[in-house]
Symmetry: C2
Subunit: 231 residues, 2 copies
């Protein structure tokens, strides 16, 4: 089936304490997008973190560095100013997810404390506001160790699986598939970014046409330490 | 703008020597998809490799292991049967990209020798057959060191950029963006996989609605050794 990625435009600047589901629902209305059952609403974590007050106003360089160390459960690699760290959620990313770009006044935006829970809260309220069943994905932009460039990945999920486990299922030739745990929600996050653009500030997009049900968590995407060959 | 991901269905089994652009063009026709200028045609490497004869018929386990070692320029990590290796292209992936799933009789499919060139050849012939200007992306499915599950990434490109470099551009607040080299073609690869499915054998999809021009190469995505902290 054809999959559509639809930007939700007109989302205003979000501030601590703002009611994000209401803001997103208004964005659907002002964009002329009528939500459908099984739509997946993808939200960049920045507006989630800001609504949740996970913002430090305009830190100095030293305070920013201290913030990164505070958010890091463990530092995986360090080179000059670059810190690759594991967060309390288990994610491994640059600067423990503390971000300074795209923020007025250079405020630092931290990751939500529990992004799966953030996704769930948005989903419950947005389903009520829009009158449909939804999936919600909260995203961040991560680098990759061996590939240049950054891509969006899922850090919070509600109402859909994190991984499609096709292992043990016969493929089109009847052969049992070997390595087929697909990180579908990361593919959804990456796809949504295509419609968001980076300088346009479109923090919400809808991925439509996938028939996914399940109750995954983004923390399911964290590779357990015993399987991790690169720490 | 809305981005569409359209599967091209009805692509038959591909064999060495097959004329892949003609097969893909026929797939557009049988799927009822009318190509448009700037469509991006995403092709899983398996049918590219097969058309190019990069297949080893039904190797024994020992021969398969030898094939992996032969395709590896360098082994990055090894644990039991799992080999993470760098290919001659520079990509770092499991089993040096030698794949055995989804193949009749358990044949092993190697990566194309020069996937950027493969993409270019497909593009030139497909543009002529369909009468439009296209981008072409050849994909493979890679794991990630710290995140569970596999995702599709680009291993060959023609007619579009690998990376969108937004560094130094002001964002919506007029602030200069810090880290904004977006691996857009990997996001395209991941998005296309959403419409392909894994057990359905849909090896071609169209990503429509992006306005990308450029002449990137997938090898541009390989992080130079001097920047690589995880080797």
């Amino acid at each position: 089936m054809t999959v559509e990625i639809i930007p939700i435009e007109g989302i205003p600047e979000v501030a601590p304490g703002d009611d994000l589901p209401t803001i997103i629902a208004a964005g659907f209305a002002s964009s002329g997008v009528v939500a459908r059952d099984r739509d997946i609403v993808v939200v960049t974590h920045k507006i989630v973190s800001k609504a949740e007050g996970r913002v430090e106003p305009a830190p100095s360089e030293a305070d920013y560095r201290a913030l990164v160390e505070r958010e890091a459960r463990a530092v995986v690699r360090r080179r000059g100013d670059l810190v690759i760290a594991q967060t309390d959620h288990g994610f491994i990313c640059a600067n423990a997810g503390v971000d300074r770009s795209n923020v007025p006044g250079g405020d630092a935006v931290l990751l939500p404390i529990d992004p799966d829970r953030s996704a769930h809260r948005i989903r419950v309220r947005l389903e009520r506001a829009l009158g449909v069943t939804l999936g919600v994905v909260v995203t961040d932009t991560f680098g990759r160790p061996w590939r240049r460039g950054i891509v969006d990945v899922a850090i919070g999920i509600s109402g859909l699986p994190a991984i499609l486990d096709l292992r043990g299922q016969p493929d089109a030739d009847g052969r049992i598939m070997e390595a087929a745990e697909i990180a579908v929600v990361d593919e959804i996050a990456a796809a949504a970014d295509l419609a968001m653009g980076k300088t346009n500030r479109i923090p919400v997009a809808v991925v439509r046409g996938l028939d996914l049900t399940g109750e995954g968590r983004a923390v399911d995407l964290v590779r357990p330490p015993g399987e991790d060959l690169f720490r």
